[in-house]
């Protein structure tokens, strides 16, 4: 296969006898976006959270390769190393903004947290970078100094996205990025994410139950069902001609 920037091999996660995901392998090329679709409970979010380190995998490996070719096995990092990585190299956008943001501090403050964690100690630089990011995400700059709890769902998601890309991560994980938003707001956020993915050439993993979200963001997709990968392919092809019975069901359902 081609070069990869993120590689997951034989990843499994059990909760006692309950299998959340089993034997999942995937590769994402540099600057590529890979989608994972499946119904809720199919294990797609577990895969993402194992990659992010929020959930400790039972077995398997998750490797990230940077531009210089150095490979780092995420599952072997200490919690402190993983946190360090999460500050700059690897970012995750959660479905629920309260997981990725501190709602009690301002939009600018949330971004400042990520920037100061990476060592920025210049107030003017923090302000201008926060302003730049929020502007890019179409957040009203007049509200930059308002606490995030006063924001609407779509605004929160925009702030979360601004925070997630603040330190130009090389890998961006998106967990149901628009689920729970109004259709029109979701379309706006989706547009924004697509713009970010195209501009920054970040390697992305997009998890969604929504076939349309994945088809907009990712050219390649894997389908998960009951904790296993049942089909892999180009998004267009898979949507046109799904092979696995479950994929067929999923695609048929999305056409309504």
């Amino acid at each position: 296969m081609r070069d990869w920037a993120l590689r997951v091999e034989n990843l499994s996660k059990w909760y006692g006898s309950v299998v959340a995901c089993e034997d999942v392998s995937l590769e994402v090329g540099p600057g590529e976006a890979l989608g994972i679709i499946g119904e809720s409970g199919s294990g797609k979010s577990t895969v993402l959270r194992c990659v992010a380190g929020d959930v400790v995998a039972s077995s398997g490996s998750v490797q990230v390769r940077d531009g210089a070719g150095a490979v780092c096995d995420l599952l072997e990092l200490t919690p402190s190393q993983r946190r360090h990585l999460r500050v700059s190299a690897l970012s995750i956008l959660y479905q629920d903004p309260s997981e990725g943001l501190d709602l009690n501090i301002t939009a600018g403050g949330n971004i400042a947290e990520r920037l100061t964690a990476a060592g920025c100690r210049n107030f003017a630089a923090l302000r201008s970078r926060a302003r730049e990011l929020l502007g890019r995400m179409d957040v009203d700059l007049g509200r930059m100094d308002d606490p995030v709890y006063s924001f609407s769902g779509g605004m929160r998601q925009r702030v979360q996205l601004a925070k997630a890309v603040a330190n130009n991560p090389s890998v961006l994980l998106l967990d149901e990025p628009t689920t729970g938003l109004d259709a029109s707001v979701a379309a706006g956020v989706l547009d924004l994410i697509r713009g970010v993915l195209e501009e920054s050439r970040v390697t992305a993993l997009v998890v969604s139950h929504d076939v349309s979200v994945v088809s907009i963001l990712a050219r390649r997709v894997i389908v998960m069902h009951q904790g296993r990968v049942v089909e892999t392919g180009l998004t267009d092809q898979l949507l046109e001609d799904p092979q696995h019975p479950y994929s067929q069901q999923l695609v048929a359902a999305s056409r309504g």
Binding site: G108, E113, T116, A117, N122, L126, D145
Partner: protein, 301 residues
């Protein structure tokens, strides 16, 4: 035997009130604190005859390190005559028989609440601070395990965010007492409860600073010649409190930490010992010899 007699017998039997193993335990914690500057060392805070929160931590440190030849000074809000200072001094002096002074230059151990003496202290002295809240991150995190993790990984980004938010909301950093300092480039420490005015004293000082929090059962230290930089953004200067044109109504000193006299447009020095000495020998009229002596002692440093 009456209760009074029993109390008296108990009080006179033990030098410095605490039993020897308790004092040793505190000294061991202090050695760790000095070895790892800024790290909060847990210790078995004893029940003291003062309520926790009234200086029991500083008191236990002083009692653990004091010897018969030490000369003691105790201050509260810069004042040797404060009720709390007098009570603590009385307890320490009556259980040790040490002599005491109000002149910081004569003291070997100074126990304090709220202030660092204006007079630069020397290498042969120790300053013991009574600490109400030892945890600098308490304002941003309440979970003890998370706090321990943040210190362990030197993950202070949320502290920086609180400074950022303060600047955004108020245009200036408003934190007055307990300003956070980064000690030896590693641990963030609360300089509680001294005002910002005193914070520069902690950096590269001659004197050993010992902090004791009795209620929270923690001791920590800033050893001599150790960096203690106040947390501040590169482009936002750390500032101490200052009122334009204010000077002490008693001694005329402008370059001291001043407190406002209630009801009048007047200020006085918070450090009473410093103020008295200024009045006895106004700084402008100080003899050449004394100034040379000060310069020489600074050169020795």
């Amino acid at each position: 035997m009456s209760v009074e007699e029993l109390a008296e017998a108990g009080a006179t039997e033990q030098f410095a009130f605490l039993d020897e193993s308790s004092k040793r335990e505190i000294r061991r914690a202090l050695l760790t604190a000095v070895a790892v500057p800024g790290y909060q060392v847990p210790f078995a805070s004893r029940e003291m005859p003062v309520a926790r929160g009234w200086g029991s931590g500083g008191l236990q440190i002083t009692l653990a390190i004091i010897g018969a030849k030490d000369v003691l000074k105790v201050i509260d809000q810069g004042d040797d005559g404060g009720v709390n200072a007098v009570n603590l001094r009385r307890l320490i002096v009556s259980t040790t028989g040490v002599s005491w002074t109000t002149d910081v230059r004569d003291a070997t151990i100074v126990q304090t609440r709220h202030r660092v003496p204006e007079e630069p202290m020397r290498a042969d002295q120790i300053l013991v601070l009574q600490v109400p809240v030892p945890e600098p991150l308490r304002g941003v995190e309440r979970d003890m395990r998370e706090l321990a993790r943040m210190h362990a990984e030197a993950d202070y980004s949320r502290m920086w965010v609180s400074l950022y938010e303060d600047l955004v909301r108020n245009g200036v950093i408003t934190q007055t007492t307990g300003y956070p300092v980064l000690v030896n480039g590693r641990y963030v420490l609360a300089t509680t409860p001294v005002p910002r005015w005193d914070v520069p004293h902690f950096d590269g000082s001659e004197v050993l600073f010992l902090f004791g929090a009795g209620r929270e059962k923690r001791v920590y230290a800033i050893p001599p010649h150790t960096r203690a930089e106040p947390l501040t953004f590169e482009d936002v200067e750390f500032q101490v409190e200052r009122t334009e044109g204010a000077a002490c109504a008693l001694c005329g000193a402008p370059e001291a930490y001043l407190i406002e006299v209630p009801g009048r447009q007047a200020w006085v020095c918070s450090d009473t010992d410093w103020c008295e000495r200024n009045r006895a020998a106004p700084r402008a009229a100080r003899s050449e010899a004394e100034l040379t002596e000060t310069a020489r002692s600074q050169n020795r440093a």
